[in-house]
């Protein structure tokens, strides 16, 4: 049977999976009060729940990776759902960032010494990867209003 | 729990393939033989297309094992095991 995915999908899922899982873990470890030294450099402050979400996205990619290695065609659906989820989270983080920025103008007293970069998160910059992914595979996300991932495309 | 519908006898005399729908493993296909159970849920199950002779594909169980998802007549339907138990089916190869 011909596979409906190529090396690009496999490589993408491995890369995105590892990055999301790793950064999510750092979020969680920091959230437990252990200093990894990465929080300043990579904008990963302690955030257990947010970290959990990144780990989940990572897991979606990694399970897709595993299934594709096994030659399962349906494995590719994990890659596409992973891409959609990471874009949703990118949007959420961007909105929160914007909201905080707006709030800092409204109640400046609460935001003394605050910079908008404090709300910059890996969920945002990792999302760029998925943005590239959806642009590259955009014909797979059908323009008809149903998420038909065309098979064997 | 309240109101558990009368369970079907699981051992059927004449046909070994007869089972209730909740016992069918995912990825198998079955043919509906009969819908039993209480009136209101039975009528709804019939209305949703689980009429005798209809082919039903068992798709998957929910992550916690219940409810179960089925595909029939080109659409996806989920039933709790309690409801699926009232549908008598026969496995098709």
């Amino acid at each position: 049977m011909k596979n409906n995915y190529g090396n690009k999908e496999v490589a993408f899922s491995a890369l995105a999976g590892v990055l999301y899982a790793l950064f999510g873990l750092v979020h969680i470890i920091e959230g437990l009060g252990i200093d990894t030294g990465l929080s300043g450099m990579l904008f990963i402050p302690g955030d257990i729940l947010g970290g959990f979400c990144l780990v989940v996205i990572g897991a979606v990619f990694l399970i897709g990776f595993k299934e594709m290695l096994q030659g399962l065609n349906a494995g590719v659906s994990f890659v596409y759902v992973g891409i959609l989820m990471s874009l949703i989270f990118m949007a959420v983080y961007l909105l929160i960032m914007g909201g905080n920025l707006l709030d800092s103008f409204i109640v400046p007293d609460d935001y003394e010494g605050w910079s908008v970069m404090e709300t910059f998160r890996p969920g945002i910059y990792l999302g760029l990867l998925s943005l590239a992914g959806i642009l590259y595979w955009r014909d797979r996300f059908s323009l008809n209003e149903v998420l038909v991932f065309r098979e064997g495309a | 729990m309240l109101g558990i519908p009368t369970k079907l006898k699981r051992t059927k005399g004449n046909n070994m393939n007869e089972k209730t729908l909740d016992l069918i493993e995912p990825e198998l296909s079955v043919k509906v033989l009969k819908v039993t159970g209480q009136k209101s849920s039975r009528k709804r199950i019939l209305d949703m297309g689980l009429t005798p002779g209809t082919r039903v594909d068992v798709i998957r169980r929910a992550p916690l094992g219940d409810p179960v998802e089925f595909k029939l007549k080109g659409y996806n339907l989920s039933l709790r095991k309690r409801e699926a138990e009232t549908v008598l089916v026969e496995v098709v190869e």
Binding site: L102 | G3, K43
Partner: protein, 673 residues
């Protein structure tokens, strides 16, 4: 001359009925409730070819055998109100099950038009449907539409206008086996002889009797000819007729569909692929929880700046008004009573709009059904539906939008229970109370105490749900028979309309109750106690022992004394019904700490209150009557003062009992003394 007609829009759930309704009526919609129930009634107007059409959007229904309240309403409207035209919206990607309703509408003999919706999706799926042939076969107009893009709407309205002047004689397209037909004719004869049934299409009525429709049977029982009907029904095997009728309707549909369309079945659809991931055994629940977190963050964190704008604006507005009005009591009434009251209504609007925007995205995309599918096992353990999970989680942010979110639960009883237990989910406004008290009394263990309060709330909710299920709201669990519709990309327009409707309903219906509550409490705090000689709304009176509320506090002090509370706590709790976070501010004033929370914390820790009473107060704050905004939406969503008052009484009784237990048991065993 302009004709005025009524057009009913019906169809299965998830067929894009709302998008057709929106496309026809645009913004000219009115959302209200059906008389006597809390099911939504949407009516819109549209003038087309000089005909004034009133479009009624009926609740989605799979069949004309009515099970749920939604379906009874839809059916009764068509039968009793006799709309001039009935438009059935059909999902072109799911013809067979959709047309089951068509067969029944045709039996009913109504003037039917079919809107074959989502034809673009059917095409994308690889189906081809010959709508002209379908029209020939059914002898009713079949119009292809794409509701989300507004395609085919003009054609649909043209068809409505054309059909208006035609006489229809096509009720007998669907024939059943001879044994059913024979029985049907016998029944029809009886029905036709009894003027009681003149109102109903006799063929449809007789088929419903044969199917054993309980609602119809009840209607028949009220007639004089019921003995004759009963005789016929007793002669036949009801169960087999029921299955046979459903079966033959489906067979007829299959026969027709084979002739008019070619459906591509050999194909794993996009929806199937998404479902493999989001309902995956290992990933399903984590993915759902992640998405809930995202929705929660948007609803509550992203809303913060907007809430601050409202807060600051009303603060400024109240201050300006207070300064402008020179009569002291009037300026206080306007500033602290009315403007603050309106502010306390509007402050929730950002939460409500954002939450409903996201719920609408989840519902329209099809994910909501999956969420219910995933969480149902857990919720069924307390006798609820999977759909109850989302409102309960949202309750941790704010109970007000959470209670409004129970709209997605179809079963009335499940919905009512969910509404009644949502206030036990500890909302964000209760947190400041915990932070203050736990901080003052428990220092390093404050975190554990606060966590335990959240856990207690969940526990009380679970036990209450089970209790209500087995006592006052007893009965069968509603059968869980739920369609998992295929995924669709939601339209922004649809989500915005939905969000705006919710916002309007909140402001109109809940707003007045909140406002009355807030102004009422202000009055109680401002009116000087008889004989105190104070001046109305003066600072010496407001909220002190010289005010009515202070007197009430002193009167009820004996009631709360066993909990270790004094009159000041009683007054703070009364104020807390305006908004829970006010408990802290009121205590500050009453204990002479002013607005400064640190001072209050020191005063409390220095012995103004025992730690046990503090713990009791936290428990009491968690469980007692929710805030006015919450009371307002409970009234709006249950449509009943009885249930609203029940919630208040139940919660407050629980609060008293728990706080009593904490204080009394704690003091006996010498804990925290």
């Amino acid at each position: 001359m302009t004709d005025k007609i009524t057009v009913a829009l019906t169809g299965n759930p998830n067929v894009g009925k709302t998008s057709i309704f929106n496309a026809i009526t645009g913004s000219k919609q009115h959302v209200g409730n059906w008389p006597g129930v809390t099911v939504e009634r949407k009516i819109g107007k549209r003038v087309h070819n000089d005909i004034e059409m009133e479009i009624v959007d009926l609740p989605g229904t799979y069949s004309l055998t009515a099970y749920s309240l939604d379906e009874i309403i839809a059916r009764d409207f068509i039968i009793e109100e006799k709309p001039d035209i009935v438009v059935q919206v059909i999902d072109a990607t799911n013809l067979e099950r959709n047309m089951y309703l068509t067969t029944q509408l045709m039996e009913l003999g109504v003037k039917l038009i079919i809107a074959l919706n989502m034809t673009d999706l059917a095409l994308a799926k690889g189906d081809s449907i010959d709508s002209e042939k379908m029209q020939e076969f059914l002898e009713v107009p079949v119009i292809s539409t794409i509701g989300s893009k507004g395609n085919g709407i003009e054609g649909l309205l043209d068809a409505v206008a054309d059909e208006l002047h035609k006489t229809r004689v096509t009720e007998n397209i669907f024939t059943y086996d001879s044994d059913i037909e024979t029985r049907g004719e016998e029944l029809e004869k009886v029905l036709n002889n009894d003027p009681y049934f003149a109102h109903y299409p006799s063929r449809w009525f007789s088929m419903k009797l044969l199917e054993g429709d309980e609602n119809i049977l009840k209607k028949a029982k009220e007639s004089e000819s019921y003995p004759e009907i009963e005789k016929i029904l007793n002669e036949l095997d009801a169960d087999s007729f029921e299955a046979k009728i459903a079966d033959q309707r489906y067979k007829t549909i299959q026969t027709m569909l084979r002739q008019v369309c070619d459906i591509n079945t050999e194909h794993l659809s996009g929806s199937d692929m998404v479902d493999r991931v989001v309902t995956n055994k290992a990933l399903g629940i984590p993915i759902f929880l992640s998405l809930m977190w995202a929705a929660f963050e948007i609803t509550f964190t992203f809303a913060t700046p907007f809430m601050n704008i409202i807060d600051i604006f009303f603060g400024w507005f109240a201050e300006t008004a207070t300064n402008l009005i020179t009569i002291p009591w009037l300026s206080s009434l306007v500033g602290e009573g009315m403007i603050a009251g309106v502010g306390s209504v509007l402050i929730f609007l950002p939460n409500i709009l954002l939450l409903f925007f996201m719920l609408s995205l989840m519902e329209d995309s099809g994910y909501m059904a999956r969420a219910a599918f995933i969480m149902d096992k857990i919720m069924s353990k307390i006798g609820l539906h999977g759909k109850s999970f989302i409102p309960l989680v949202m309750g941790f942010g704010c109970n007000v939008p959470a209670i409004m979110a129970t709209r997605t639960i179809e079963d009335t009883r499940d919905r009512l229970i969910t509404i009644l237990i949502t206030p036990f989910m500890s909302c964000g406004a209760r947190l400041p109370v915990y932070v203050l008290l736990a901080g003052a009394f428990f220092g390093r263990d404050a975190g554990v105490v606060i966590f335990s309060l959240y856990a207690l709330g969940i526990l009380v909710a679970i036990v209450s749900a089970k209790l209500m299920r087995s006592t006052i709201l007893r009965g069968e669990d509603a059968p869980f028979i739920m369609e998992l519709p295929s995924y669709k990309i939601p339209t922004l327009k649809g989500s915005f309309i939905h969000m705006w409707e919710r916002g309007k309903i909140y402001l109109k219906k809940a707003g007045s109750i909140i406002l009355i509550g807030v102004v009422g409490v202000w009055l109680l705090a401002s009116i000087p106690a008889p004989g105190s000689g104070g001046v109305f709304a003066s600072e010496e009176v407001y909220g002190t022992t010289n005010s009515v509320i202070g007197v009430i506090g002193q009167i009820i002090e004996p009631l709360v004394a066993p909990l270790g509370f004094d009159w000041r706590i009683a007054v703070a709790l009364l104020f807390g019904v305006v908004a829970k976070e006010i408990v802290v501010g009121s205590m500050g004033v009453l204990y002479g700490a002013g607005e400064n929370e640190d001072t209050l914390s020191d005063i409390l820790a220095a012995g103004a209150m025992t730690p046990l009473a503090g713990l009791g107060l936290m428990v009491f704050t968690l469980l007692y009557a929710p805030c006015f905004a919450c009371i307002g939406v409970i009234k709006r969503e249950t449509g009943s003062w009885k249930w609203t008052l029940f919630q208040l009484a139940y919660g407050t009784t629980l609060a008293w009992t728990f706080a009593f237990a904490v204080y009394q048991i704690g003091s006996r065993i010498g804990m925290l003394a």
